[in-house]
């Protein structure tokens, strides 16, 4: 690396030396002594003038550049620069450069500052939203208790007296709606817990085959009632150190999802596992409408629902997959999907096989 000062002195120093040397040579070799002397003096003046000019320029050139570099560093560190400390007497282009940089830095700095404020505000708002949601869902739980309780009570006709068919039908409708509401509240609360990182996990040794069989048994009746063929393909059995209740929750969400997308006739849902060295992968496959490529990347986003207006309106909170993703991540795994339109969708999630599980079996 070479500094401007050094470069200038090198160039102009050599130049002035050459000028003086030529003058000196001329003085030695010329016949006309007077002329030789004039040339010698002249070359001496020129070379020393060059020397001083170089000194001057070097100083005025490097100082502002050095100061500019310093201020740039200052700006990159703090997003802010202190007020101008440079006088206007220097080289005008550099002064302009300085000034322009200052203007730019101030503008950028202001924008960044505003952005920072905005970011803080957004964070604050997000926090308040989370608090609000959790307050609301909490407040919703209280009134839903008497609603569901009285529905249950009314259904106990031996205690409450007989209802006629119309009344029972109406009661059933209320019952279904309140259960949906209840599920929605639960979903919102669950999503909140995940958001706040407060999801509680109870790890134990979970056997993949047991888990899959339990899930199958739990969902087979409802699938049968909806004419959906629920299948199970057991891969190699292995165990993970994880939370079986949470895994069941994932399955429950994925299967409920699949149930609302399979065709009304010949709907098929398949549960299964796959195994590699480090992970065990569970999957839920359906032969439903599938999910378009451009919608796949949004599918785990909160409140996102695949638009199926052309086929069937889907009901739900739009939180199911967000919750699945949150749980899988909390359990240290990954969730993804493969889908092609009109052929079906497969959701996969994997969980790490824990190797340190041995010492945790007998706590």
């Amino acid at each position: 690396m070479i500094r401007i000062k050094q470069a200038l002195f090198l160039i102009f120093g050599i130049t002035s030396f050459i000028i003086f040397y030529i003058g000196f040579l001329n003085f030695l070799t010329t016949q006309d002594n007077e002329m030789g002397l004039i040339i010698l003096i002249f070359s001496g003046i020129v070379s020393s003038g060059t020397f001083f000019a170089t000194f001057y320029i070097a100083n005025h050139l490097t100082k502002p550049i050095e100061s500019l570099a310093k201020r740039m560093k200052e700006f990159s560190e703090n997003n802010f620069i202190s007020k101008n400390s440079l006088d206007d007497k220097g080289i005008s282009e550099l002064t302009a450069l300085h000034k322009n940089f200052e203007d730019m830095a101030q503008k950028v700095g202001n924008t960044l500052e505003k952005e920072k404020q905005l970011n803080l505000k957004l964070k604050e708002m997000d926090k308040r939203k989370t608090e609000f949601m959790s307050m609301i869902s909490h407040e919703l739980k209280t009134p839903i208790m008497p609603i569901m309780g009285y529905i249950q009570l009314l259904k106990k006709q031996e205690l409450m007296g007989n209802l006629n068919e119309k009344q029972l039908d109406a009661l059933n409708e209320i019952s279904i709606a309140s259960e949906k509401l209840q599920k929605l509240i639960q979903d919102v609360l669950m999503a909140q817990k995940i958001d706040l990182g407060k999801l509680s996990i109870n790890k134990e040794i979970v056997d993949s085959k047991d888990l899959l069989e339990k899930t199958f048994k739990a969902f087979n009746p409802i699938c049968e009632s909806k004419n959906i063929d629920l299948k199970m393909s057991l891969g190699q059995t292995s165990s993970v150190y994880s939370d079986s209740d949470r895994i069941s929750q994932i399955f429950s969400n994925l299967i409920s999802n699949a149930m609302s997308f399979v065709p009304k006739q010949k709907g098929i849902i398949e549960l299964g596992t796959k195994d590699d060295n480090e992970h065990i992968t569970f999957f839920v496959r359906d032969n439903g409408v599938g999910i378009a490529k451009e919608q796949q990347k949004n599918i785990f986003k909160k409140f996102y629902q695949v638009d199926t207006s052309s086929t069937r309106k889907k009901e739900g909170s739009g939180l199911g997959l967000t919750i699945c993703e949150g749980i899988v991540k909390t359990l240290g795994g990954k969730i993804w999907l493969k889908s092609s339109e009109n052929k079906g969708t497969t959701f996969f999630f994997n969980l790490p096989k824990a190797k340190i599980q041995v010492d945790k079996i007998h706590p």
């Binding site: 209280t142 008497p146 249950q152």
Partner: protein, 137 residues
Amino acid sequence: MKKMSKTISKSTKQKSRLSVLIVDDNEQITKLISSFLDYSNHDCTVVNDGKEGLELIKTNQYDSIVLDLAMPECDGHQIIKTLQKDDPDQLKKITILTASNINDDAVKKFKELGISGCLQKPVDIDQLLSNITKASS
């Protein structure tokens, strides 16, 4: 003897009236539970205030107590704390019924104190009744 009669009452879901105290500031919820208990032939005392609830627990003998956690002034936690000091035998009669989120650690802590059960609102009323019965034995 008492235990035996309870087992019978559980299996036949009849007779052996329990006297149950319900402490919850929400009147609709206390009404729901007391109606259900009433129809199921149990005696029920309702109180919508924590302080009064605590007084009643101290002065009367109930078979089972349903306790809400979040209440103004004297909340369920306070009641539990006081009973823990003054009359720990009462704790095993308590079934907590709350809308608040209670994590597993909290449930564990309540269990360690001897509290019979911990239920989240909204609760299945049959489950509540079976908890109430369990807490009375």
